[in-house]
Amino acid sequence: MVYSQTRLTRQVQALPQIMVLLVGMSTFFTCLVYPAGDSVSLSGKVVRYWAFHLQGADGGPLDLIPLQTDTQVDLAVIDYSRDASEQGEFSSAEIQSLKDTGKIVLAYMPIGEADAGRFYDQNPHDTSPFSATEGETIVGPENPSFPGTFFVRFWFSEWQSIVFGDEPLPGWVGTAKPGRDHYLEPNCGSGI
């Protein structure tokens, strides 16, 4: 038996009034939300509950629909790409549709570690985030807890220019999008 077969079924006419109390209550009861904790005002909005959502179910591509329909979350942290790849980056329209639900939306961005497969990875098919020789000195040891993620010597100017700034990306960094500058560019480029 599945729930939908019993939902809202009413067969109570033949039963005494007392049984209405139980039999007539096959019920769908929407979620009640009374989050504990505090609230804070950010960007002119009250934030009482947030969400940290980086992947889809079973590690698949991140789907924004559940966040769009969620009514509890005031601030959402999501990966800026549905699958961490450059090709999977969310469009401004997709992010705007999430913001249109009243949420503050932040882009997840690791800056102390580098991930294989990100936009700066010359060869997404190997295990290193920097396959070019020039990138070898930036990369530290692999994080044993997260294969494919490497500690990065973040003080290197090459890494910092990948993350933000006015300087163009180092020529050896691989990116499929012409004219791309740095990591933060897709995150804050719109509207500034």
Binding site: S26, Q55, A57, G59, G140, L184, N187
Partner: protein
């Protein structure tokens, strides 16, 4: 090409620990350089979009390490007397090669020397950091351990557990964030089945929470976090069922405390009275009761002395009680009631049915499995079970019927899949209409009902009903061991 995010959430800040003296030691200044990195990133992005938000995650002590890792003489400031620091014409530089002179590759720290005194104090370093960020993402604030999920609540850790010390130092840092108006966005990794953990998380977020583990709140020469200090912190909560962050989940805590009354009704002689008691000898407790119909929408109920409403506000005096009663008027309306309050309360709903009698049903606790005694006599006594999904996601229910020896009954098993978040089910054991076990022989039956819940927790109630006066009683719902 830009996607128009409102801000950025910077992870792996604590990667500096891989290279400083806690790591391979190749970059003793790594913590200081992480702060410089974040300062420059924040300045750059806010120059273009002033309201752009910058949240680092974890590494609560990075500003402390930035000082301590280089402050060799312990004078709580970084100046020319410390290694890796040089001062040229009053400008502080990070002397990367530690040659005690300015050379190529050395990094200006002028932006951190806000009073231009040729040194960096601990306060200057901290202020630079806190002024660069708008919030802190903080994992595992209250649930400590090496597990991916469902680590123990810090208040339950035994004496001398190093995780208590870790919590106290982290809490001490949180106070610094609070002093600089940086809110803490806390994520705890608690699975749907961890009913106790979810309750503990709700409790620690409550303004009424106090640690029972005195080792946490005593100072004793080390940083501590008093109950008052905990309450002063701003925690914006999030509960994730998995550290993989593949699922959204909501947190249903109440405004501190909640009581669930899955059964509620009014009309045609049926009345419901909710009785609430306040166990506190000192504090009045206020809250509200919300009524919901079968669809989960607000239910208008006639309340004696108040009129028709969907919500009733109340206050209970210390050691006192209040009773909110329906008026019994109009058509029968059934639904549920949820009490949200600022402090703990006791509660019972008392049903009164004209010509039958009165029965009280205590507020339901949250359960991941339960057992209730059941019986049915054809044409007479029957047992009704009400289940309310208090979780924020769908759950699966497995209901099995046993005889008094605990032996499963033929055709006495029902699986309810995708029982939705907030869903409610109320059915009789057998008989006419929609029943739990239509194919089991319950004509003259006595035994037990066992309900196993997968994926969350539920509230439940059991009532035994008949058609004669007095045939109306509440049955115990017992958590499964």
């Amino acid at each position: 090409m830009g996607a128009g995010f409102d801000g950025t959430y910077l992870d792996d800040i604590d990667g500096y620990q891989q290279f400083n003296l806690d790591g391979d030691g190749t970059r003793p200044s790594a913590a200081l350089e992480m702060i410089l990195f974040i300062q420059q990133l924040s300045s750059w992005v806010k120059a273009q979009k002033p309201d752009f938000l910058v949240f680092p995650q974890n590494a609560e002590g990075v500003y402390q390490d930035a000082l301590e890792n280089l402050d060799e003489n312990g004078d709580l400031r970084l100046d020319a007397s410390d290694p890796f620091i040089t001062v040229v014409n009053g400008v502080v530089f990070l002397d990367v090669d530690d040659d005690e002179a300015f050379s190529d590759g050395d990094i200006s720290l002028a932006s951190m020397d806000t009073n231009n005194d040729g040194a960096l104090s601990g306060a200057e370093i901290a202020n630079v950091y806190f002024n660069s960020i708008d919030g802190l993402g903080a994992e595992d604030c209250f649930f400590k351990g090496n597990g991916e999920e469902d680590n123990p609540f810090v208040d339950t850790l035994g004496s001398g557990d190093p995780r208590i010390i870790d919590f106290k130092f982290t809490g001490d840092a949180y106070l610094d964030f609070a002093a600089h108006n940086v809110p803490i966005f806390n994520v705890e990794y608690l699975t749907n089945e961890n009913v106790l953990g979810l309750q503990q998380y709700c409790e620690v977020l409550s303004d009424q929470f106090s640690f029972t583990n005195l080792e946490i709140t005593t100072e004793d020469g080390s940083p501590g976090l008093t109950n008052a200090e905990l309450r002063s912190l701003t925690f914006i909560p999030f509960r994730a069922p998995s550290r993989d962050l593949t699922q959204l989940s909501t947190l249903s805590c109440g405004t501190g405390h909640r009581l669930y009354f899955a059964q509620f009704g009014n009309g045609q002689g049926l009345t419901s009275e909710i009785v609430l008691t306040n166990p506190s000898a000192t504090d009045m407790v206020s809250g509200e009761i919300d009524f919901f119909d079968d669809e989960g929408l607000s239910l208008s109920v006639g309340i004696a002395g108040t009129g028709v409403t969907t919500r009733v506000d109340f206050s209970v005096l210390p050691l006192g009680a209040v009773t909110i009663s329906t008026d019994g008027q109009g058509e029968v309306a059934v639904g549920a009631a949820v009490v949200s309050s600022e402090g703990p309360l006791g509660g019972v709903v008392r049903f009164s049915i004209s010509g039958i009698g009165i029965a009280g049903v205590p507020a339901s606790q949250l359960l991941s499995g339960f057992l209730a005694p059941v019986r049915r006599q054809s044409g007479g006594i029957n047992t009704g079970i009400a289940i309310y999904n208090a979780a924020s996601q769908a759950v699966t229910l497995n209901l099995t019927l046993q005889d008094v020896q605990g032996t499963p009954v033929s055709n006495g098993e029902t699986n309810i899949e995708d029982f939705p978040a907030g869903g409610h089910l109320a059915q009789f054991l057998g008989g006419a209409g929609e029943v739990l076990f239509p194919d089991a022989n319950t004509e003259d039956f006595q035994g037990t009902l066992v309900v196993q819940v997968t994926g969350g927790s539920v509230a439940a109630a059991a009532l035994e009903l008949g058609t004669q006066a007095g045939e109306f009683t509440t049955l115990p719902v017992t958590p499964l061991e």
